[in-house]
Symmetry: C2
Subunit: 116 residues, 2 copies
DNA sequence: ACGATAGGTAGGAGTTTCCCTACGCGTCAA
DNA sequence: TTGACGCGTAGGGAAACTCCTACCTATCGT
C-alpha cells in the first residue's frame, strides 16, 4: 500500500530499533552469526526473561527468526525489514547530499511559495 | 563513542520515527518544504496541541528545526539524523545483498563455529 | 487597547514499555 | 523417571507514550 510496507509494520520495526539492548542483539547476530539465547544473554546485565521479551519484540518486527535445536532456540538476523528502512530513507537522501554540496541551502531555506 | 552517535541519540531518533504521524510530518516537510504548524496540522485529525507534542519529539531528536516568523513557527526538515540512520544501517547491507545473490544463504545458515 | 490568531504548556486518563520474580513446558543426561 | 537445563509466559509495578481539554503567551489587524 505504502511505498515501503504498512504504517503499522514500520511502527513495529522502528519501535524495535528504538532500544539499545535490541540494537545490540542485532549487532551480535550480525557479527557473531546465529546464536542461542544463552550466548546473547551473556552480554547483558538484565534477567534472562527480560531479554526473552526483547527477542519477542524483534521477532514481531520480523528482524530475527528462531529455529529450535534441542532445548535451544537459535536466533538469526533477518535483514529484510532493515532493507525496507533503507528504502524508506531514500527519498530523504537528497537533503543531506544537498547540504554537503552546499547547494540546497538556498533552495531549501525559502521555497515558501505554495505553502498557504 | 559509538560508530553512529550515542545510544541515547539513536534511541531518540528511532523512537521519533516509530510513529506514523511523525513520519508523515517528515514526509510533508520533505515534499512541501518548510511549513508552519497550521499547514502540517491540516493533514491530521488530532487536536493541534497533540501535534505540537509530536513536533517536540521530532525537535528533541534533531529531525526538525523551527524558525519563528511573526506569530508562526516555520518547521523545517533536518536530515542529519537520518543520515546517521543510514550509516547505522550500512553494516547490515551485506545481509540482504547476499540474500539477493542467493549466495550467503548457506554461509549464513551455519557459521556456528565460534559461538560459545 | 481589543479581539483574533498561532502555537506552546499543564495536567490528566488510558495504554504501552521495560524491568522484575515466579512458574510452566519441553529436552537432555543419569 | 528424576532432575537439571534452556526459554518462554504470567502477572505486577514504575515510567513513558499518546491523546485529550483547558489555559497561557506572543503577535497581528483594527
Amino acid at each position: 500500500m505504502n511505498g515501503t510496507g504498512t504504517a503499522a509494520a514500520n511502527d513495529r520495526v522502528f519501535a524495535a530499533l528504538a532500544n539499545s539492548v535490541r540494537r545490540e542483539v542485532l549487532r551480535l547476530l550480525r557479527d557473531g552469526g546465529p546464536q542461542p539465547v544463552q550466548a546473547l544473554a551473556a552480554h547483558f546485565d538484565m534477567a534472562r526473561p527480560s531479554l526473552s521479551e526483547h527477542l519477542k519484540v524483534l521477532r514481531d518486527a520480523g528482524l530475527v527468526s528462531e529455529q529450535r535445536s534441542g532445548r535451544q532456540r537459535i536466533y538469526r538476523l533477518e535483514a529484510a525489514p532493515l532493507a525496507e528502512v533503507q528504502d524508506w530513507l531514500h527519498p530523504y537522501e537528497r537533503f543531506w547530499r544537498d547540504r554537503l554540496k552546499g547547494l540546497g541551502e538556498l533552495l531549501d531555506r525559502m521555497p515558501d511559495d505554495d505553502a498557504s
